[in-house]
Symmetry: C2
Subunit: 447 residues, 2 copies
Amino acid sequence: MTLAVAGTLMQTPAPDRLTVMDAVVEVDDAGRVAAVHDQSTSEGAASGRAALDSADERVDLAEGTFLIPGLVDLHIHAPQWPQLGTGLDLPLERWLFDYTFPLEARYADAGFAATVWDDLVPSLLAMGTTTAVYFSSNHLEATTALARACARHGQRALVGRVAMDHPVGTPEWYRDATASAGVEASAASIEAVTAVGSPRVEPIITPRFTPACTDALLEGLGELAAATGVRVQTHCAESDWHCDYALDRFGVSDSTALNRFGLVRPRTVLAHSDHLTPEEAVLVAGRGAGVAHCPLSNAYFANAVFGVRQALAAGVGVGLGSDIAGGARPGLLGVCQDAVTVSRMLEDGVDPALGATDRGVPESRIDTMTAFWLATAGGAAVVDLPVGLIEPGRCFDAMAVRTDRPGGAIRLWDGIDDEARAFEKVVRLATADDISHVWVDGSSVKP
Amino acid sequence: MTLAVAGTLMQTPAPDRLTVMDAVVEVDDAGRVAAVHDQSTSEGAASGRAALDSADERVDLAEGTFLIPGLVDLHIHAPQWPQLGTGLDLPLERWLFDYTFPLEARYADAGFAATVWDDLVPSLLAMGTTTAVYFSSNHLEATTALARACARHGQRALVGRVAMDHPVGTPEWYRDATASAGVEASAASIEAVTAVGSPRVEPIITPRFTPACTDALLEGLGELAAATGVRVQTHCAESDWHCDYALDRFGVSDSTALNRFGLVRPRTVLAHSDHLTPEEAVLVAGRGAGVAHCPLSNAYFANAVFGVRQALAAGVGVGLGSDIAGGARPGLLGVCQDAVTVSRMLEDGVDPALGATDRGVPESRIDTMTAFWLATAGGAAVVDLPVGLIEPGRCFDAMAVRTDRPGGAIRLWDGIDDEARAFEKVVRLATADDISHVWVDGSSVKP
């Protein structure tokens, strides 16, 4: 099945660049973008018409509906979906031990897991999350089931069974029995996720975070990554407590310790990382790893805000993560708003009792364009997937957003809104109900 | 017409208290709550049944749909609705002079004003904003039209024509010609809004903020407030620039200057006020004025975060404002989330390069319960309106929220979510599409 979509295409090829084109996007039968025809030229208009006429399926987006790339959520805890929005008045350790670990432990029940995955995956697709990088639970079976749910519903995903064995940092009722058992289960999960057989679903090695893992487990997972070439994800330098813990245990910073264990590698996703020093940023950039910036959960569990601009300037790859359920906003467009908001707060500071110059970090703010780039091309680059932009050779992972829905918050006003403002409104105000189409690999996946 | 509504009632009579009751709410033909029957007692069940049977209209909310008080938005710039979500990468002064003042000046066109008001008011009602405290534009006619739109669509509102005459702080194409012209137009607007004749719509005296007003205008409006007893609203101590400006011009702080002009009075709404010192908080509390806390716009234009807990401890009345369009989230439930989020950031700080103890303001965080109290009973108390709680004697301004909408983000899970968690999910995750009913004075106003 080939596809052609006609509409106004808005995307961000660079953090400071928005392009808007009246376009026909031609998608081949493998779901790749074959061509993007610019309707403002007579040649492009002719080839666009031809593409629309010859495609097996043709979609003409209505006036006021915009075509944008699908969103790449670099950090989601799939099993925490049922607790989305709750418990956010608690400090991280109580949140983990009282709420989160007990919930995650329930995924030993395959039926419960299946029920949650079959709600989570289509819900995220409906919000435009075409690629998800998942922390699953500690369970092999539930993790394989998550991979199958992604394949069945058509979501592009990296799916990681969470490895965790530390006798203090995890409860005895929810952990790998030993380090070697953890490494073996992680290896088995790589095989099981691969065996699902979807070209869109891959495994990812997932040590929870250093406080939850013994040295032997971290070392074994580093070796597994080196042996298999499979991507790695973990939490890094998230909070004061986490950083102090790492220094105390390893004598070096969290990122340095992770690197020594062979876990900071090309395409590694380090979630949060808001406490990275400039020197550590250089290390992360040099290793080809990247950061999943989770702006909303920064406010709750990180004690500080990740400096996006500083990291990009240091050459670190950065994308956005919802951090469900530490972040209680499931749609990644909403997370773009949060990324702009917390960047403004990082720049200006928060405490009115301090002088203006002592309060924040100058030159930290990002705009809606940069936030959207993080959520698309930026995140795609971190995990090296050919998505995030609608251009020839990349997969057609895309969505269409209405700006005229009665009951929605977006309005475009004649004589007021130009294309750049329309883009801002789409990113800042759209909810799932405003998203009319979602495609992954050229297939419609909007439930 | 009398009304009876059966369902699970959730509300916050105090910042730290959530009550949940399986209830029948009986509403008299004036739109007031006549009784709340507790269905868990046999007596309440009997009287509830009788109320349902005898009411002219009866609404039985479905299982999983919750009844909560309607929301009181203490600070909205109505004419900025068309720019919602745009320009938020700019500093306040450019945002005002390049975006906002030119837009507001367009409301000289009564047709344009009518078009915007007829979109804005029903949109806010659909999001549960049953009471709105509006800054209108500088125009008498557009302001009266806004009051009429509120009356027609059934929204409870305080509607203020914006007074502004300062030759430096305002552009010559958008200001009152003289201070006395500004006072006269404000007096005329009080009459015109009152003449609309809705029991739900009242005028409010609205000097924009000190930098936009000459001493003569501020003084004249203070006298007008004293003579008429009409409420006052203005911006107070919002940003570093604003505070420095006030000190420089008046030799005292912004709130002290406003008080000298007779503008800090019982029921005065001071928007933002994030830079209030503890001494000024005592002054504001002593005068019976209150604060419209606008958490999202704090991040954009205030250079700091308002300390809700500190203000409440000082006896200051506090409610929530969306600050449309400086805050780009129109629904006040979403603003509750933002209030929790920025309170966490105020507590923890933002700059990872600072030590943990130098970074934030301890004991600043609020939870979802407190945020919802601000958005309901707290805000109602600031403007002294009998709403914000569903109890006998208050107006039945209320809404019902579904927790089971396919495509929505809220889910309740058996064995996981108790009532307190269900409340958190409603407040944190509901969008306009999840709101099934909205009532003002017992009349259905959901478009």
